[in-house]
């Protein structure tokens, strides 16, 4: 490999606190009517003052602890001054000089991606233009609902070595956010936003290109695609011996390319200075400890525990722990069934056919005790696995108990040995060649004979008995 990408991410996470960062407006503003979740503080009315939310700090501390960061006792807010109509005060309250946390890492498949810093800040509003683009627009409107929604900005070190790894990092981060319950992590809804810095190293000639910043990637897929595109673009520039411009580029969905937005030379001077309206926030070690103690089990811990406690494969455990809700439901089902392996099978093959891991499993019609009942019906030979699958679907849809469904539908396992024997004899008569082959050692053909019976009985035959009788008839 001649070229290697060096990628760092800057991620903005909307914290789903009850209130905005510095006022008492609701922070849940997605898809609200414009300018309905606002007050003098978040709209920067002359005379109004910001007061930092405690919950924002708690969420920030949880996140920082989950990302193995050093959490600072002394933190402070600063003003980042820039001039834009969606920023009502003319500055953003952020943490520049004394951020909430620094020096952390996120482990990704055994590799540590270092976190440079995490700091808290407020979101800006949104501009709505009267036509597609700002240049064509006759007028523009400002929706201030998002103003003041708390954000945690996470800055990674340039430790990411491929576009795919960048995507994986974000997916893992989203999982952690959801486990912690500090953010929905929805990229499509803007609750998780990512800018990337990418440069490329020419390994043979040992030179590194300038850094390019990539923006406007509002899904995990686009992050990967945009970075792949950028990697290729920079690579070919390096190959041609061209100078890679230090610039900011935006992912353009329609052309699936990145487009230059501005050169880094014209970067803003944000004139940072300490926010005089908010005194430094000092949180003692003990207080931090108290907050961190509330931390739920994190994805990696849960994964390992599932593998150990329930003797599951890595694959199974990964799926079952992909969300807290799914994992919790699984554990409640196992508590009833006492059979983790079987429960896992039914989760992976059936339950997840009808649900996705982010659903609310508490409100499902199917309950843990239904699993137990279903398993008992199978073990008792009252229903076959195939029937059980149908019953499962019906339980899922209606919430009726499995035994009730068996009773109502008159489903019964055919266990009549003479009947099974007759069917088998007929099948074997019609497939003499296969009987011959079986006797010559092709034992795998057992499945064929059993399968034929199942087909003819629509799966209602007792598989165990069919097996026994078939063996007898074949002289095994």
């Amino acid at each position: 490999m001649r070229f290697k990408p060096v990628i760092g991410l800057e991620i903005h996470v909307q914290l789903n606190t009850e209130t905005k960062a510095f006022c008492s407006c609701s922070a849940d503003v997605f898809e609200l009517e414009p300018n309905t979740a606002i007050c003098p503080v978040c709209t920067g009315q002359p005379g109004a003052l910001p007061v930092p939310s405690k919950q924002m700090y708690e969420f920030g501390i949880l996140l920082a602890a989950a990302l193995n960061c050093k959490i600072h006792e002394y933190t402070k807010f600063d003003r980042k001054n820039y001039f834009y109509p969606d920023l009502p005060k003319g500055y953003q309250i952020t943490q520049y000089f004394y951020p909430l946390a620094t020096e952390g890492f996120l482990e990704l498949d055994g590799k540590k991606i270092r976190i440079n810093r995490i700091h808290l800040e407020e979101d800006a509003g949104k501009l709505i233009h009267s036509s597609e683009t700002i240049t064509q627009a006759e007028s523009s409107f400002v929706d201030m609902n998002r103003c003041g929604v708390p954000l945690a900005e996470i800055v990674t070190e340039p430790d990411i070595e491929s576009p795919e790894e960048a995507k994986k990092f974000l997916e893992k981060l989203r999982q952690i956010l959801r486990y912690l319950g500090v953010s929905t992590g929805d990229m499509e809804k803007g609750a998780l936003r990512c800018d990337a810095n990418i440069s490329v190293i020419d390994l043979e000639n040992n030179v590194q290109s300038n850094k390019v910043e990539v923006k406007n990637m509002n899904s995990f897929k686009f992050v990967e695609k945009a970075l792949e595109y950028e990697f290729e673009r920079i690579k070919s520039q390096l190959k041609r011996g061209e100078n890679v411009l230090k610039e900011t580029r935006g992912w353009d969905l329609s052309t699936k390319t990145t487009i230059s937005m501005r050169s880094k030379e014209e970067a803003n001077d944000y004139r940072y200075f300490p926010e005089p309206d908010i005194p430094p926030v000092v949180i003692s070690r003990e207080e931090i400890k108290k907050i961190v103690e509330k931390m739920p089990e994190l994805p990696d811990e849960k994964l390992n525990r599932f593998k150990k406690k329930y003797t599951l494969t890595d694959y199974e455990a990964k799926i079952l722990t992909s969300s807290v809700k799914l994992a919790d439901f699984f554990e409640r089902c196992v508590f009833e069934t006492k059979n983790p392996k079987e429960t896992s099978n039914w989760f992976l093959t059936e339950l997840l056919k009808y649900t996705s891991s982010e659903d609310d499993f508490d409100t499902l019609k199917i309950k843990p005790h239904h699993f137990k009942e279903l398993f008992e019906l199978i073990v008792d030979g009252k229903i076959t696995r195939n029937i059980a699958k149908e019953i499962f679907k019906e339980v899922f849809e209606t919430g009726k108990s499995p035994s009730k469904i068996v009773e109502e539908k008159g489903i019964e396992v055919i266990g009549d040995e003479t009947l099974i024997e007759e069917m088998l004899k007929k099948i074997m008569d019609e497939n003499k060649d296969k009987v011959e082959a079986y006797k010559n050692g092709k034992k795998g053909l057992m499945g064929f004979f059993v399968g034929q019976v199942m087909k003819q009985t629509k799966g209602k035959a007792d598989a165990r008995k069919v097996n026994e009788i078939a063996k007898k008839l074949l002289g095994d």
Binding site: P40, V41, P46, G47, V51, D269, D277
Partner: protein, 456 residues
């Protein structure tokens, strides 16, 4: 002479008359000469007529900050201090003139008009709370609120011969005060007596959930009134006799020292060489905060929009409504905060600010109070001062209290020519009742004199 004009809060509390009506009558009759008010509020419930500086927001009542850009601004809420006034039976009879956004020392930078000094109408009333001080000194109202960032309560109080008190930073909520320099701004009373100042402080102070810089502290500002302070030990910086201080003021300050000594107070001279850096420090920190605080007034987000072709032109034209002094400070602050100069200016100024604070705190460990003249000069003639640097030097004695967040009061003490001279008493952080008590101790012999009395 109208009896109302001399009334204090304490008098009004005891009486049964329509004082609000009386106040409005005096305003109608005399404000044409004084120009203390930008807006007079005809209908106002409450008993005690008070004036509020027009950079403190009042729900439904125009709040202009004496700026063209906010000429039509009607705030959607009341400042915390306004809420408190209303709850305590104060009637806001008007909003007083100031230098635009409180930047200035003579209300000459008001976008609307200059407030005249009730002692000499060819002279300024001081600033930036000149309207509030003139309204009190001319007897238009019983008391007023001002705001003090570098002396804006104390200096006009001195020029107009009334009491002006700047509390410890964090005691009075700034919620609803249109920010000038947030780390220095503090609202305070302008009154006819120290007792009224203490009374008003009890009304307006207190922890406010809406202002994170307020402190949670129970204080009774009236508790040290009427006390004997003859055992007090005070200090004055030798620099008060230095260059740039008017002879008449120096002479009066000497009288002040003699007076205190006669009362038994021990007065010592100290050296405070850092004093001369306070103005420079202030004029880096305050404009920096200004440049940020005022960026919202662009005609798009806030302020009157001057519609032009295109967004940039609209911005430029709208911003041009700001006055020359405001623009000067925005430019200055934008410069000192820029990445290339931050360390050399803003960061260094922060350090000097801490140095001055520490120095003052050390003095105040040893002495009960630090005394100085409030202003190195008396009220100057309207239009007389043109050089901004001369303007800035007028704040030399008042600025240190803002830099250190200390309580300081200006009380009238005699005259230089026909013009009142103010003396400043600065105390330790949270020693506000003590500062008021000491001022009251002096006031017992030297009460406020009203302009119409002195002329006789």
């Amino acid at each position: 002479m109208n009896k109302f004009k001399k009334l204090t809060i304490k008098d009004v509390l005891k009486g049964e008359e329509d004082y609000v009506g009386e106040s409005l009558k005096v305003i109608r009759k005399e404000d044409g000469d004084i120009n203390a008010f930008i807006t007079v509020v005809e209908q106002s419930s409450g008993k005690i007529p008070i004036a509020v500086k027009d950079n403190i927001v009042t729900e439904g009542i125009r709040t202009t900050c004496a700026s063209k850009i906010l000429e039509d601004f009607i705030p959607p809420f009341d400042a915390t201090v306004v809420e408190k006034l209303k709850k305590n039976n104060f009637a806001i009879v008007g909003k007083t003139n100031l230098d635009e956004f409180a930047m200035g020392t003579g209300t000459e930078y008001s976008a609307f008009f200059v407030t005249k000094n009730p002692w000499d109408k060819e002279r300024v009333a001081g600033g930036s709370s000149g309207g509030s001080a003139a309204a009190v000194a001319s007897g238009e109202v019983v008391a007023a609120l001002g705001s003090d960032t570098g002396g804006s309560i104390r200096q006009p109080a001195a020029f107009c011969g009334v009491i002006g008190f700047k509390p410890t930073y964090g005691l009075v909520s700034r919620y609803g005060l249109v920010a000038f320099a947030s780390s220095l701004d503090q609202i305070g009373p302008i009154t006819k007596t120290t007792k009224d100042a203490a009374y008003l402080m009890n009304v307006i102070y207190g922890k406010d959930e809406r202002d994170a810089t307020t402190v949670d502290k129970k204080i009774d500002f009236e508790v040290l009134l009427e006390k004997d302070f003859s055992k007090a030990v005070v200090a004055y910086p030798e620099e008060v006799f230095g260059e740039g201080v008017e002879e008449g003021v120096k002479k009066q300050f000497e009288e002040f020292i003699k007076f205190l000594e006669k009362k038994g107070v021990k007065v010592e001279k100290i050296s405070f060489p850092e004093l001369k850096y306070s103005v420079a420090t202030y004029y880096i920190i305050a404009p920096a905060e200004v440049s940020s605080n005022l960026s919202r007034f662009d005609g798009i987000r806030f302020g009157t929009r001057v519609e032009e072709k295109g967004l940039l032109e609209t911005y430029l034209k709208s911003r041009k409504q700001l006055g020359v002094e405001v623009i000067r400070r925005i430019m200055l602050g934008t410069f000192t905060l820029s990445a290339a100069y931050y360390d050399a200016y803003f960061e260094k100024a922060q350090k000097v600010r801490r140095l001055i604070s520490n120095r003052l705190n050390n003095f105040l460990e040893k002495y009960d109070f630090i005394i100085t003249p409030t202003s190195p000069i008396t009220a100057f003639k309207i239009g007389e001062v043109r050089d901004p640097l001369v303007y800035y030097m007028m704040d030399i004695f008042t600025i240190p209290a803002n830099l250190a967040g200390l309580p300081a009061i200006s009380i009238p003490f005699g005259f230089s020519g026909n013009l009142p001279v103010g003396m400043q008493i600065m105390g330790k952080r949270f020693d506000d009742p003590k500062v008021l008590g000491f001022a009251n101790f002096i006031e017992r012999d030297v009460p406020v004199v009203f302009p119409w009395e002195a002329k006789k």
